[in-house]
């Protein structure tokens, strides 16, 4: 088989492109904001990914699109759901049965993958942005900081403030009033992470989890959230390698299996 294989993951917040060789080796990637135009974002991301891999578009063999905006990727050969793509990417990394928690910009999902790499069960929460990247963006802003500092703050806290609301809008209001009452930003940040862990954790418990639990999606970079998930589930939760591009990675791997 000649050429290279591309995965395009069009999310609500960011668009990711990954390029792999015909043996599934990672060659290059790009992550850019999706913005208003899926066509523009995918073209741009593809260009950037090709540059990062020092390849040109002639050498592309097949393309798989995934994510919320997958049906708008006109140049894709096939569209596959993000559940299947995330599972494919995670299984390639881990090689055995695992539970994958994917927390993206606006939705979250839990996928159990069996020993042969097949999707066993899945649960999606895409009706509410509680506990997602959007939620964390808003909260970090309310705490007058960025996401990296937010995570450090939470990790440095010795106790947590109770956040009662999971709604992004109402939780922001709660945070502001806690600050006004003199609660430390560390306690608030930690409290928010615990809320997310509870929210996502209940989805994980519903699907059922096994020994290996990994987190993908942009939110996986937030160590405080991952650590809060570990304590909530009483099991080690680990960030998956290259978590944010995992969906695009899986899509690229699936592109290899498409008929020519």
């Amino acid at each position: 088989m000649a050429g290279y294989f591309v995965g395009v993951d069009v999310g609500s917040i960011t668009t990711k492109v990954v390029i792999v060789s015909d043996e599934g080796n990672f060659l290059g990637s790009a992550t850019i904001p999706t913005g208003f135009s899926v066509a523009k974002a995918t073209d741009q991301a593809l260009d950037q990914a090709l540059k990062s891999a020092s390849l040109n578009s002639d050498s592309i063999n097949r393309i798989v699109a995934t994510g919320y905006g997958r049906n708008l990727v006109t140049f894709a050969n096939e569209k596959i759901t993000e559940i299947t793509c995330h599972a494919k990417g995670a299984y390639k990394r881990i090689g055995k049965a695992l539970t994958l928690i994917d927390i993206g910009g606006q939705d979250s999902k839990v996928i159990t993958i069996n020993n042969s790499g097949k999707v066993d069960k899945f649960l999606m929460n895409d009706k509410c942005s509680a506990g997602t990247g959007r939620f964390l963006d808003v909260m970090a802003r309310a705490l007058d900081t960025d996401l990296e500092n937010f995570s450090s703050m939470a990790l440095n806290a010795s106790s947590s403030a109770k956040i009662n609301s999971m709604c992004t809008v109402f939780a922001e209001t709660e945070v502001i009033s806690l600050i006004a009452r003199g609660t430390s930003r560390e306690e608030i940040a930690y409290g928010l992470c615990l809320s997310i862990a509870e929210r996502v954790g209940s989805m994980v418990k519903k699907v059922g989890f096994n020994d290996l639990i990994f987190v993908s999606g942009g939110v996986a970079y937030n160590q405080a959230v991952v650590s809060a998930l570990s304590s909530h589930l009483q099991k080690k939760v680990t960030m998956l390698e290259e978590p944010q591009i995992n969906g695009a990675f899986g899509a690229a791997l699936l592109a290899i299996q498409l008929p020519s």
Binding site: Y68, I80, T81, E82, I83, T84, K118, V119, D120, F122, M124, D126, K127
Partner: protein, 423 residues
């Protein structure tokens, strides 16, 4: 013809502006969902016609029927015994309950956190946008679920309602209760119609309804062939129309379609490519004009080959036993047949799990999509048992929950696609 309809609707007291808007939406949705299908059986033109006349011809027929002294009974549920209504020269009409359009009106009275089907039917009456409601001499309700039970109290303020008491368990004692309800219903229906129930008339009515069920059984089993000769959407439409079309004409039309579809099977003519992924749906019903789930499934290139639902197997899978020599025993047989419907409002309801497994195997499906309306407590809790049973039988199952709104079409699509990808 159009003007005849308009004056008829105005005379019935409909809110003309809202009603026009409703018909406008339906007029756009139906061609989009139905006419774009390929290679539909020619006999579907009758059913397209029924939809084009959805608030026209049939309403006029009912008005003519009433002019001749007949009565119209509005219903919402499979537990209402059509045979008794028909035997007393009554017409049984399954009332409108399938659109989001009437829900906002309902939400001014009913809580938002309530089944869409219930809100929809209440909104139809409250908003005065259903001519069938206005033509119905009485509406028959039933104590199936909490939502319906309490909503009938509200509906009774707007329209005459008679509520059947449905027990929640199935044993000889509750059967006696149900049998008594049937007697009470006969008395009430006789009072409303001014007719007397006789053995002959009841026997005829049983044959009428059994014939309809037999025609539907034939049609629905033909869907299991390969290639699939008729779409799930078309079959669903017919199952829905069964609730309110004239029984004799409907049965004739279905039998005509059955012949055509049988020919297709013989000639290996299908509406989907070979090896299209076949799915069955189960769960809460999709009242007309709710075609959302089937449309999402079939627009993605999969086919629905059966429904374990009130708009599917639960409607037609069992007949009333015609063999009885007395009126009392015929009524016993009717009571038995209706008592045996496997709805989640009964506890336990394990027979429904058997039904789903059975239907899955007979239809050659690859998976089950168990679809429950939001806030439908009985079916939502039962979804857990459905999953456990399907897992035990190694039958792929997807549990989804939705309401009438169109806002979650993308989410449903993703779940269904992911489900099929995982098979």
């Amino acid at each position: 013809m159009a003007n005849d309809n308009r004056s008829m609707w105005a005379e019935l007291g409909l809110n003309m502006e809202k009603h026009d808007a409703l018909l406008g939406i339906l007029g756009q949705a139906y061609p989009e969902i139905y006419h774009k299908q390929n290679n539909r059986p020619k006999s579907m033109t009758y059913f397209d016609f029924v939809i084009s006349e959805i608030h026209g011809l049939r309403v006029k027929e009912l008005l003519d029927h009433k002019e001749k002294g007949g009565k119209v009974f509005g219903t919402f549920c499979l537990y209402v015994p059509d045979e008794i209504i028909n035997a007393l020269n009554g017409v049984s009409i399954g009332l409108c309950a399938g659109t989001e359009f009437s829900v906002p009106d309902a939400e001014t009275v009913l809580p938002r956190n309530l089944c869409s089907l219930i809100k929809s039917f209440y909104g139809f009456k409250f908003g005065k946008i259903c001519p069938y409601f206005e033509v119905a001499d009485i509406v028959i309700g039933e104590t199936t679920c909490d939502g319906k039970t309490k909503t009938y109290e509200e509906l009774a303020e707007l329209h005459p309602v008679y509520v059947l008491e449905i027990p929640h368990r199935k044993n000889e004692d509750t059967f006696k209760l149900w049998r008594t309800e049937i007697d009470k219903f006969v008395a009430k229906a006789e009072q409303i119609t001014g007719e007397k129930l006789t053995l002959e008339k009841l026997r005829e009515a049983i044959k009428l309804n059994n014939n309809k069920r037999i025609a539907l059984q034939k049609l629905n089993s033909l869907r299991w062939n390969n290639p699939i000769p008729i779409s799930g959407k078309d079959a669903l439409l017919i199952n829905q129309i069964a609730f309110y079309d004239d029984p004799i004409r409907f049965t004739e039309s279905v039998n005509k379609l059955v012949d055509e579809v049988q020919d297709r099977v013989t000639q290996k003519q299908g509406v989907f490519p070979d090896n299209t992924v076949r799915l069955i749906t189960s769960g809460t019903p999709y009242a007309i004009p709710n075609w959302k789930l089937h449309h999402v499934i079939e627009s993605n290139g999969y086919a629905v080959v059966a429904e374990e639902s009130c708009v599917g197997s639960r409607y037609f899978s069992e007949l009333v036993d015609e063999n009885a020599e007395t009126l009392e025993s015929l009524l016993d047989n009717i009571a038995r047949r209706y008592f045996n419907i496997h709805c989640a409002c009964f506890t336990p309801n394990d027979e429904r799990l058997d039904d789903i497994v059975d239907l899955y195997k007979k239809s050659g499906a690859k998976g089950v999509i168990n679809n429950t309306l939001s806030f439908c407590t009985p079916y939502l809790v039962e979804a857990n048992r459905v999953k456990k049973r399907m897992d035990a039988e190694s039958i792929p199952i997807l549990n989804i929950e939705s309401d009438y709104g169109m806002g979650d079409v993308e989410q449903l699509t993703t779940r269904i696609q992911a489900f099929v990808e995982s098979m």
